[in-house]
C-alpha cells in the first residue's frame, strides 16, 4: 500500500501539487487521471522520489521515502518497477541485456539463472525470441512490453506506469492494459498508472484518482466513474460528443434493465 499524505510541490511561484492525499491499495490498479498540466506526472515523480516534495509524505508500506536514509532509499527503490512513457530502454543494449541489467546490478545469480529469469519474464509479456533484438528494431508496443518485463524482473512490490498507452494503437493499448492488470493481480503488487486514456480507465481502473489543478478532485472505481456527478470529472471524461452519446446510451440501457427487473 502507498499512502500520499498532504503532498505539496511548487516550481517557483507556481503551485503544482496542493495538499494531495491518496491511498493506493495493494493488488489493485490505481489510476491517476487528469488533463494535461493537472499535476499527475509531478505527483508520480514525487511518489517515486525523482522530485522532492516541498512538504508532505509518501509512505510505502509504513516506510516514508523522504525520511529514510540513503541506503534504505536504495533498497526501497529496488522494490519499485517503472514503465516510462517512452519505455526508457537502454539504446545500446539488446532486449535481453536491458532486462538482465537489474539482475546484474543487484543479484548474485549465476549466468544460467539470469538467462532463465529473463526468458521467464519475456514469456510473461509474450516476447519470446526477442532476446537479441535492439530497442531500435522493435515496435512501440513491443518496447512497452520489454519495459514491463524489465520493471518486473526483480519481483517488485510496486509498479509505476507513466502513460503506458501513449503512441499506441487501440488494439496494442488493450494488450498493454490487460498485461498491467494481470501482472498486478498475479504478483499482488501495488500498481500506479498515470494516464488520460479513458479505455484504460474503464479496462483496468480498480481505483481511480482524478487530479484537477494540483489537487485530488475525485476518487472511485471504474464502475463509479460513469455515474459521477462531479462536473469537472464529467467535463474531462466526456470531452467528446461520442463519449457523451455513449454515456447517455449506457444510462438509458441501465434504466431499461432496472425497469425490466422491477417488472419481472
Amino acid at each position: 500500500m502507498i499512502e500520499v499524505k498532504s503532498l505539496k510541490k511548487s516550481f517557483g511561484d507556481k503551485v503544482i501539487l496542493n495538499d494531495v492525499n491518496l491511498v493506493m491499495e495493494t493488488g489493485k490498479s490505481n489510476l491517476i487521471i487528469g488533463s494535461s498540466g493537472s499535476g499527475k506526472t509531478v505527483l508520480l515523480k514525487c511518489i517515486i522520489g525523482l522530485f522532492t516534495p516541498d512538504s508532505g509524505k509518501v509512505v510505502f508500506d509504513g516506510k516514508s521515502m523522504i525520511d529514510v536514509g540513503v541506503e534504505e532509499k536504495k533498497e526501497l527503490r529496488q522494490q519499485i518497477g517503472m514503465l516510462f512513457q517512452g519505455s526508457a530502454l537502454f539504446d545500446s543494449m539488446t532486449v535481453e541485456k536491458n532486462i538482465k541489467f537489474p539482475l546484474d546490478m543487484f543479484t548474485n545469480l549465476t549466468a544460467g539463472e539470469k538467462k532463465k529469469k529473463v526468458n521467464e519474464v519475456l514469456a510473461r509479456v509474450n516476447m519470446e525470441g526477442a532476446n537479441k533484438k535492439l530497442p531500435s528494431e522493435i515496435s512501440g508496443g513491443m518496447k512497452k512490453r520489454v519495459g514491463i518485463a524489465r520493471a518486473i524482473v526483480l519481483n517488485p512490490r510496486y509498479l509505476f506506469c507513466d502513460e503506458p498507452n501513449s503512441g499506441l494503437d487501440p488494439q496494442t493499448s488493450l494488450v498493454i492494459d490487460r498485461l498491467i492488470r494481470d501482472i498486478t493481480t498475479e504478483y499482488n503488487i501495488t500498481t500506479v498508472v498515470v494516464t488520460h486514456d479513458m479505455n484504460s480507465v474503464m479496462e483496468i481502473g480498480d481505483h481511480i484518482f482524478y487530479m484537477y489543478q494540483g489537487h485530488k478532485q475525485w476518487e472511485g472505481s471504474n464502475k463509479e466513474i460513469i455515474h459521477s456527478k462531479d462536473e469537472r470529472l464529467n467535463e474531462f471524461i466526456f470531452a467528446s460528443d461520442f463519449l457523451q452519446d455513449a454515456k447517455q446510451m449506457r444510462m438509458m440501457q441501465e434504466d431499461q434493465n432496472k425497469k425490466q427487473q422491477i417488472n419481472a
Partner: protein, 245 residues
C-alpha cells in the same frame, strides 16, 4: 548569479559521484568500456593529427631558421620541445574536447531526455557514480596515454618530414632531439594532460547530465560543452605555464 548556480551544480555533481557502488563488477565493466571508447575510439584522429603537427612544425621551423649560425639540429630540438610542451597536450586535448567531449555530452543528454537516467535512478543506482565517474576516470587514464603517444608520433612525423623534404638529415635531427633534454618538460606535459583530461570529461558530463528539453537542447548542450571545454583548456594552459615553468 547564473554562473555561480551552475558552478555550484557542477561541484555538487562531482561530489555526488563518490558513493559506494551497488555492484563494483558492473562499475568496473563500465569503466573499461569508457577506456575503450575514449582511448581506442580517439586513437585514429590522434595519430593523424600528431603526425601532421610534427611534420608541419619541422617544415615551418626550417623555413624560419635561415641563419647559417644556427645549426640544423636545432630543428629537432624545437620540434621535440614544441610537441612535448604545447602541441601534443593542448592541440590534442582541444581535438579530444570535440571528439570525446561532444560524445559524452550527447550520450548523457540523450539518456536524460529519453528518461534512461530516471530509469537507472528508480532502480536505486546512483547515476552520477555509474555514468559520470567512469567517464572521468577513463579520460584521466587514457588521455595522458594518448598525449604521450602523440608526442612520440609528432616527433617521428617531424623527423620523417625533415628527411623526406631534405630539410635536415635524420641523424642530424636526432642530435637535436638528444641535446638539452629536460625531463621537467615531460612532467609539465603530463600535468597539463591530467588537467585537460579532467576538463574534457567533466565539463561535457555536466552539460549532458543536466540537459532539459528536447533533441535540440542535446545539440546545444553538446556544442556549449565543447566551446566551454576549449576555453577552459586554453585558460588552464596559460595558468599552468605561468605557475610551473
Amino acid at each position: 548569479m547564473k554562473f555561480f548556480t551552475k558552478f555550484g551544480q557542477y561541484l555538487l555533481m562531482l561530489k555526488g559521484m563518490f558513493s559506494r557502488p551497488e555492484n563494483p563488477k558492473m562499475y568496473w565493466k563500465e569503466f573499461m568500456h569508457q577506456c575503450v571508447e575514449i582511448g581506442i575510439g580517439s586513437l585514429p584522429i590522434v595519430v593523424i593529427i600528431s603526425l601532421f603537427l610534427g611534420a608541419v612544425t619541422t617544415v615551418q621551423t626550417a623555413y624560419q631558421l635561415v641563419s647559417p649560425l644556427v645549426p640544423a639540429s636545432t630543428i629537432g630540438q624545437i620540434v621535440r620541445d614544441s610537441m612535448i610542451l604545447e602541441l601534443s597536450p593542448t592541440v590534442v586535448s582541444i581535438v579530444l574536447a570535440g571528439v570525446v567531449g561532444s560524445k559524452i555530452a550527447s550520450e548523457l543528454g540523450n539518456m536524460r531526455i529519453s528518461e534512461q537516467i530516471d530509469a537507472l535512478e528508480i532502480m536505486g543506482i546512483n547515476t552520477k557514480t555509474y555514468l559520470v565517474l567512469p567517464k572521468i576516470m577513463g579520460a584521466l587514464l587514457m588521455i595522458p596515454c594518448l598525449i604521450t603517444l602523440s608526442a612520440f608520433l609528432g616527433i617521428w612525423g617531424g623527423r620523417t618530414a625533415a628527411d623526406m623534404s631534405n630539410i635536415v638529415a635524420s641523424d642530424i635531427f636526432d642530435i637535436g632531439l638528444r641535446s638539452n633534454f629536460s625531463p621537467k618538460n615531460v612532467w609539465f606535459a603530463l600535468t597539463k594532460a591530467y588537467t585537460f583530461a579532467f576538463i574534457v570529461s567533466s565539463i561535457p558530463a555536466y552539460f549532458g547530465y543536466f540537459v532539459s528539453g528536447g533533441s535540440l537542447e542535446i545539440g546545444r548542450s553538446s556544442t556549449t560543452s565543447v566551446v566551454v571545454s576549449c576555453i577552459l583548456i586554453l585558460v588552464a594552459d596559460y595558468a599552468l605555464a605561468a605557475l610551473l615553468l
